[in-house]
């Protein structure tokens, strides 16, 4: 799952396949994923993993790394 998310971010959002993203790298607070891309990220997660992330949750306080995002997705899928 983490690899899939990392791959989506580098390929689709950053349009730079060579960019490797560490699972503990800051995404939102660093500006790596800019605010215009958050909608796409949420939709990708819903379509790929079947987990809904509300738009109010698209902030660094809720998740800022791929690790935290993956944990959120796993928790959502169980509930």
């Amino acid at each position: 799952m983490k690899d899939q998310i990392a791959n989506f971010i580098s390929t689709e959002l950053l349009k730079d396949q060579t960019r490797k993203i560490a699972f503990n790298e800051a995404l939102i607070s660093s500006g790596l994923v800019d605010s215009f891309s958050l909608v796409d990220l949420a939709l990708f997660i819903e379509e790929t993993f079947g987990a809904c992330i509300d738009d109010t949750e698209l902030t660094a306080e809720v998740f800022d790394t791929i690790e935290e995002l993956a944990a959120l997705i796993s928790a959502r899928r169980l509930s």
Partner: protein, 556 residues
């Protein structure tokens, strides 16, 4: 009524319980009446008085989108002080960089007070210098709404129409040093002329997600509806960017009639809003959706209409406007009362000869959207390099003149002097006229506009120069229009000495990170090139336009 407080005082006498605005948020809406607004704002006026702030002194507001910002803004005006809203620190922006901007703002603007959050006082303290102009830092948590609003003794009530009412800045180090100072008179002239141009009345409902530190958000999406008594539904730009459908559901819920959007927002909503979020949404009351603050594209309008017409959006609602803070807001308005004129011109003639010749069958054509005609009291000319008027269809620099113009750049007489020729403000924008309608084709100045936001390339270049391996004066930043997203993207080219791919990649990423953390924008691409690649002017400066063209030829 000759000043902003006069207008609001009259409203308060007539209709104290009328709703001035609704703060629309995911966790619920909050209606604020004129009486509420008056009480809340008076609290800030009282705090400014207690802090020893004098009338006509600037006050910087470091507050996020929300009720305290609104009340502090009007509080300062009621008191007769001059508010300036500084964009608040965002998550991605580095605190050091933000501090530098704040230092720049304090140095030039010389505010007597700063209004902010308790959590932010340390940050403000770090930005301050010994013996600076700031005499008081006011915390919004300590401001009490006034029990009784005492208008008669308010400093703002005997202010003169020609006095300055507010300062408006662009962001970034360069923008913050150039505060557009507007008088009460200029604001009210704009209000009268612009309301007439768009047939705006107290029955209109304005829905806006625009930030208040930007002229479009501050004037069209905030001050104008409040002074006009039109209902204002205001949402945070942060909420909108995460859920763009919220603008449309708010239009539907409140019967919104007017909105202003930068061009990219049309593309953004067209591609990101999902049908499932628009159940029962009705856009049929939306009578003018006004495209403004960056190049306007026919394609963006057409796609937006095709996407949302099934929800009641009317084609004639799509309108255009050419605006700038220096004219308070609108210069011209198109598409209200009649459809936006579309001029199909020959691309080659435009690029090679700067003449907009109507395209013939088979020509490579560009569809230009008209920005409309000047609002009452404002005149527009298109000038050649010698300042001589050009005939219709010849592209030249846009100059304007009228009764809404700025009083000057605050504490920057040098810049004010440079901005005018005789009494004409020279915009730095390029365009042509056809029978009195203005078409804006580009910019002479090297400003980049991303999503309606002005970005100065020199600020980005300076950020890039801080990266190890990049040399001062050997970087260029420019904007490239991306049709798909409907706005400009930022490209950066830096000369480096290292030749290994890995080392160059690293420098490229560091430049990208540096720009993300140090400005409001992100760079779409960063290119590292060999020494000597960049074209310089005869005076040794990096020529932005020439390097942009070279990039397009070699890489695009």
């Amino acid at each position: 009524m000759t000043t902003v407080p006069d207008v609001l005082y009259q409203t308060l006498q007539d209709e104290p319980d009328r709703i001035a605005l609704i703060l629309h948020a995911p966790d619920g809406d909050q209606a604020i009446t004129f009486a509420d607004l008056s009480r809340g704002s008076h609290g800030y006026a009282n705090s400014l008085e207690s802090a020893g702030v004098q009338r006509k002194e600037p006050v910087v507001l470091l507050l996020q989108h929300g009720r305290p910002l609104i009340e502090a803004f009007f509080g300062a005006i009621f008191y007769g002080a001059i508010p300036a809203i500084m964009p608040f620190l965002t998550q991605k922006l580095s605190p050091e960089r933000y501090r530098q901007s704040l230092v720049a703002l304090i140095e030039i603007t010389k505010p007597a007070a700063i209004i902010t959050y308790p959590e932010f006082t340390d940050e403000v303290a770090r930005a301050r210098k010994k013996d600076d102009s700031v005499r008081s830092v006011i915390l919004w948590t300590e401001v009490e709404p006034a029990a009784e609003a005492s208008w008669e003794t308010l400093g703002g009530m005997d202010i003169e129409p020609e006095d300055i009412v507010l300062l408006q800045h662009s962001s970034g180090t360069t923008g913050l040093q150039k505060g557009v100072a507007l008088s009460h008179d200029a604001i009210l002239c704009q209000l009268r002329a612009y309301a007439k141009a768009i047939n705006m009345t107290a029955d209109d409902v304005v829905v806006s997600w625009l930030p208040l530190y930007h002229d479009m958000g501050l004037i069209a999406g905030f001050i104008m509806p409040i002074l006009m008594r039109s209902k204002l539904v205001l949402m945070s730009p942060f909420d909108w960017i995460r859920a763009p459908y919220r603008l449309l559901s708010a239009i539907s819920k409140y019967g919104g009639t007017l909105s202003w959007l930068p061009n990219f927002a049309y593309n953004f909503m067209t591609s990101k809003v999902l049908d499932r979020d628009l159940e029962n949404v009705d856009l049929s009351n939306w009578r003018a959706v006004i495209n403004c603050s960056e190049p306007m594209r026919w394609r963006s309008h057409d796609d937006f209409f095709n996407r949302f017409s099934k929800y009641g959006l009317k084609r004639q609602a799509l309108a255009t406007c050419y605006a700038m803070a220096e004219n308070v807001f609108a210069v011209t308005q198109g598409g209200v009362g009649s459809a936006v004129a579309v001029d199909e011109i020959d691309r080659r003639s435009l690029v090679e000869n700067q003449i907009a010749i109507p395209a013939k069958m088979g020509d490579d054509a560009v569809r230009m959207l008209s920005a409309g005609r000047p609002i009452d009291g404002t005149s527009v000319r298109v000038l050649d390099a010698d300042g001589i008027d050009l005939p219709d269809r010849y592209v030249g620099e846009i100059a304007l003149h009228g009764d809404c113009l700025l009083s000057g750049y605050y504490n920057r007489d040098d810049l004010t002097k440079k901005a005018f020729i005789d009494s004409w403000y020279i915009t730095g924008d390029l365009g042509y006229l056809v029978d009195g309608e203005l078409f804006v084709t580009g910019r002479k100045k090297e400003l980049i506009i991303v999503g309606g936001k002005n970005v100065f390339p020199q600020d980005l270049e300076e950020l890039a120069m801080e990266v190890a391996g990049v040399h001062p004066g050997r970087v260029v930043a420019f904007g490239l229009f991306n049709e798909e997203i409907g706005t400009e993207e930022i490209g950066v080219i830096a000369e480096v000495d290292v030749t290994e791919d890995e080392a160059r990649l690293k420098i490229g990423r560091e430049i990208r990170d540096q720009i993300s953390r140090g400005s409001d924008v992100t760079a779409r691409f960063v290119l590292t090139v060999d020494r000597g690649w960049l074209i310089k002017t005869s005076s040794g400066k990096i020529a932005r336009g020439a390097n942009r063209d070279k990039y397009l030829q070699e890489f695009a």
